[in-house]
Chain length 204, copies 2
Amino acid sequence: MSEQDGEAASKDTREVIMEATFRALRERGYGDLRMRHIGEEMDLTRQVIHYHFDGKDDLMASFLEYIAEQYEGSVEVADDMDPRAELDARIDQCLFGPEFDEFTHWDRMKVYHELFAHAQNDDRHRDILDEHYEQIKGSIVAVIERGIDEGAFRDVDADRFGQLVTDAIHVGRERRISLGHEEAPEEAREAIDEFILDSLSVDE
Amino acid sequence: MSEQDGEAASKDTREVIMEATFRALRERGYGDLRMRHIGEEMDLTRQVIHYHFDGKDDLMASFLEYIAEQYEGSVEVADDMDPRAELDARIDQCLFGPEFDEFTHWDRMKVYHELFAHAQNDDRHRDILDEHYEQIKGSIVAVIERGIDEGAFRDVDADRFGQLVTDAIHVGRERRISLGHEEAPEEAREAIDEFILDSLSVDE
């Protein structure tokens, strides 16, 4: 087996383990999850997990990176997109989709928000989530700054607006997931429009 | 022992178990918590927990009610308080205090937010948290409605404003707890003032 084949095989193995982790988390939640439950969701032997990961916390850290990468890589924005249209596309993506194959947006968000709450007990998880938060917020700040430069938005504090939008998205998802408020993401979208984005407009 | 003594004793026992649960949660987080860890935090025998509660989920449901009651009962508002002053007092209380004896506001909020995320896996926990959410939101909606009636606030959709304030509080606390953003509660307070409460003003 060439080195390249080895890399490909180990990448596939990682993917298999990540998907098994996803299924096990979806079924049981984080609190009751044991390594053996993840093993039960795979065709590979459980030893493969222990070969690649140093325990549950290490596996979960990789799993968080895996979910974060999928969200960060999945917004497609054309170069000549209007700043407000790009902002809308990014917000809708975080609130309502992207769609993937086996696991829905809400399957993903459920495990993401549960691990988010657990991060208070694990510095490595906290660092990964904080980096993801800054990445998402940063992409929103960047389009607000572009809008200001192009004269489409008023000259506001882009960092502050980006943070507000990111936080409003977070709580809209969380209220749906934890409290079962099915309409919360739509309510968050309306509140973002009315209280945040409308005040960016130069027409006022 | 009279019936009244029996009630008092069992109330004290509940309090002892709740405080032991608090210490165990603070130490370990929810995911790794076992009933025996709670037993280790008490002077009473562990059998007392099993006498009062039907397992970990039942104990946690009572614990959630216990924390929620403390927050709901602790805002003191004078009858003749100005609506804006009452609103400020309620928001500050949810974001920054009240202070209690052994456990600080943030000790409480850490376990509250962790259990909030876990509620997606437990309908009874979800119901308790949803009721608490409605209670907190309801107290904010009520003071906004009073302000509208008294001519202190514009005639806005009080329910919508109450929800926004409640959600902004939630995410400000959560960002501090999960991501370690120490300044997040103050940022949430400023955003609530600037983007929500200022638009209530009749002077605009």
